[in-house]
């Protein structure tokens, strides 16, 4: 099977520094220009094109990057990722409506809350076998929603309304309908997240996660403090989810338990699996495609979850490495057998 990821990496590696900078800038420019392409074939008939760019697409991309740290990098199946998204959103909702703190001030608090709950849940749960972790996190995601549904202070089923938009930054106003501005802000957050993940993956932490994913016992016996790294992965993933939640609440101005169902966790999981677990570009591609298509093709928007479920089954059985698989390629090597697939 062709490996687009390797093709891309090859081009990247052959390029010299200015060429790389040029490539990166043009990619970012292309992403930033997307809001202006609403009139073209990209337009979404069902929802407002620019708002689709913000949610689901950019939001999915951000969350998929976060979940990828957990599941793709270190092989921990977290089925309750929505919990961290919800915690970020409710932090924004509560503090935004009851205190004078603004979005930018709440952002670090929301991230901290998500990380904190990541530790509370992760420290005991990560001692268990992988499939038990899946069930525990699944339950946790659902519990957060039920708690929101039943606590007066969180507004019960009515949720929280009147959440403030972010205050102007550098003179840029965040009007509730200026989707473009939100999109660009998210783009910056996404770029930061990509930078963080890439930075971590090439060094010691990346190797530790990779060794845990492939053979945890061997990793531990080779001196890798596996538990510590698993908690780190889990908490880092949570922090990205929390950031997405804060921003989401500040964009929609209204949140309710219904926004944070199990389905969100599964959707993000599908993005990660579809794109290619462990490879950040694959994950981004997966989130863009799965976020966009249901709004582009009318049939898909009704059967969205059904299709996503099918995606999971089909991908796992036929192409478990996803659209753009993780690294399979070896550097500078004439040997033919090196491109063999693992299965």
């Amino acid at each position: 099977m062709i490996n687009l990821r390797d093709k891309g990496a090859e081009i990247w590696e052959r390029a010299n520094r200015p060429q790389r900078v040029l490539m990166a800038i043009s990619f970012i420019a292309m992403a930033a220009a997307l809001p202006f392409l609403g009139g073209t074939f990209l337009n979404t008939p069902i929802a407002d094109y620019q708002s689709v760019l913000v949610y689901p697409i950019a939001m999915f991309v951000l969350m998929a990057i976060g979940l990828n740290i957990v599941i793709g990098k270190s092989g921990l199946l977290d089925l309750g990722y929505v919990a961290f998204f919800a915690i970020g959103a409710y932090t924004m909702g509560l503090l935004g409506t009851r205190t004078s703190l603004n979005t930018w001030e709440i952002l670090p608090i929301g991230i901290a809350m998500a990380m904190f709950s990541g530790i509370i849940l992760g420290v005991p749960a990560l001692k268990l076998r992988g499939d038990y972790l899946a069930i525990i996190t699944l339950g946790f995601g659902e519990i957060i929603r039920i708690v929101a549904l039943n606590l007066e202070v969180l507004g019960r089923s009515g949720g929280i309304i009147g959440i403030p938009t972010p205050p102007p930054i550098f003179g840029i106003e965040y009007a509730f309908d200026s989707h473009r501005i939100y999109y660009w802000t998210l783009l910056i957050i996404i770029l930061f997240a990509i930078w963080m993940v890439r930075r971590l993956s090439v060094r010691r932490a990346g190797r530790a996660w990779e060794s845990i994913r492939q053979d945890e016992d061997a990793a531990e016996l080779m001196g890798v403090p596996t538990f510590k790294y698993k908690v780190w992965a889990f908490v880092l993933g949570a922090s990205v989810g929390g950031a997405a939640g804060v921003f989401y609440a500040s964009k929609t101005l209204f949140i309710a338990p219904d926004n944070f169902t199990l389905q969100i966790s599964i959707l993000i999981l599908a993005c990660v699996v579809f794109g290619g677990m462990g490879n950040i570009w694959g994950v981004i591609a997966g989130a863009v495609i799965l976020g966009y298509l249901p709004d582009r093709i009318r049939f898909l928007s009704d059967a969205r979850l059904l299709v996503f479920g099918l995606v999971l089954v089909i991908m796992m059985n036929l192409r478990p490495d996803g659209l753009l698989p993780r690294k399979k390629r070896e550097k500078a090597l004439p040997n033919k057998d090196s491109n063999k697939d693992k299965s």
Binding site: R204, A205, R207, D217, A218, L221, M222, T226, K331
Partner: protein
């Protein structure tokens, strides 16, 4: 006689009703090659597993450099200076040979996740140093040319040796080799014997499980024999070979094909 680096005292390991190790006592002395042999199911790999903390022993004690290993976390045991290889190769297949060794050398890094994130000078220096060290180890074992190949694509013999290089990456004082010659042809075995001696000469202590008698007898300074979880001999290779109890233990059981 030199000092002992590892000592097992009256070690017993039971799994439910099965006694895998029964009152086993022996020492590994510094800078020696100690062969650990016995018929199939004698408990050799179990010895490795109790030393490295995979299993907690039922009774007895294990001391490494005078410190008890009881209840110690597995990665800490490795960091204190004991490394092992696996009988059934357990490399990280999706990583290159070099990365496999580097993951093990990471054991000795000081910079944390945050340092790695911001590319702190310590982290950058360590990264460089580790890469160099990992390449040195691959060269030392004689597989330097395979550094950038994915572990799973390597020939079998190279994988076996990469396991040794990876174990050395943790900078151990004692290295446990679990059937490093399994599946090797005679020429490869000769080559491996040289490597094992070279490792010892570089200052490491070696505890070696091996089925191939001629290899064990050739490289070991001393041999411990297990049978049904009990130690039945502990002597020089020559004396062990003449020991009637050892001969009896091996006669009853067909020797491994290798």
């Amino acid at each position: 006689m030199s000092t002992s680096i590892l000592s097992l005292k009256n070690v017993t390991m039971r799994f439910g009703g099965v006694t895998a190790l029964n009152d086993v006592t022996f020492d590994v002395k510094e800078k020696e090659i100690l062969g650990l042999i016995g018929p199939n199911g004698a408990g050799k790999t179990t010895v490795f597993n109790v030393i490295t903390g995979v299993y907690q022993i039922t009774s007895g004690s294990i001391e490494f450099q005078g410190k008890s290993l009881a209840g110690e976390k597995r990665y800490k045991i490795t960091r204190s200076g004991i490394a092992r290889t696996f009988q059934n190769i357990r490399l990280w297949g999706d990583m290159t040979a070099l990365e496999n060794v580097m993951t093990a050398t990471d054991t000795h890094k000081r910079s944390g996740l945050v340092g790695g994130l911001f590319g702190s000078p310590i982290s950058r220096k360590e990264e460089k140093r580790d890469k160099k060290r990992a390449q040195e180890l691959l060269d030392f074992i004689g597989i330097g040319e395979y550094a950038d190949r994915l572990a799973r694509n390597l020939p079998y013999g190279v994988q076996r040796r990469l396991e040794i290089a990876r174990a050395l990456g943790t900078e151990p004082k004692l290295i446990l080799l679990d059937e490093p010659a399994a599946g090797f042809n005679p020429a490869e075995k000769v080559e491996l014997a040289k490597v094992i001696r070279k490792i010892r000469d570089a200052g490491y202590t070696i505890l070696l499980i091996e089925h191939d008698m001629s290899l064990v007898m050739k490289v070991s300074d001393r041999v411990v024999v297990l049978d049904f979880g009990q130690k039945i001999a502990d002597n020089t290779p020559q004396k062990v070979q003449d020991d009637p109890r050892v001969i009896e233990a091996y006669l009853g059981v067909p020797e491994d094909a290798s």
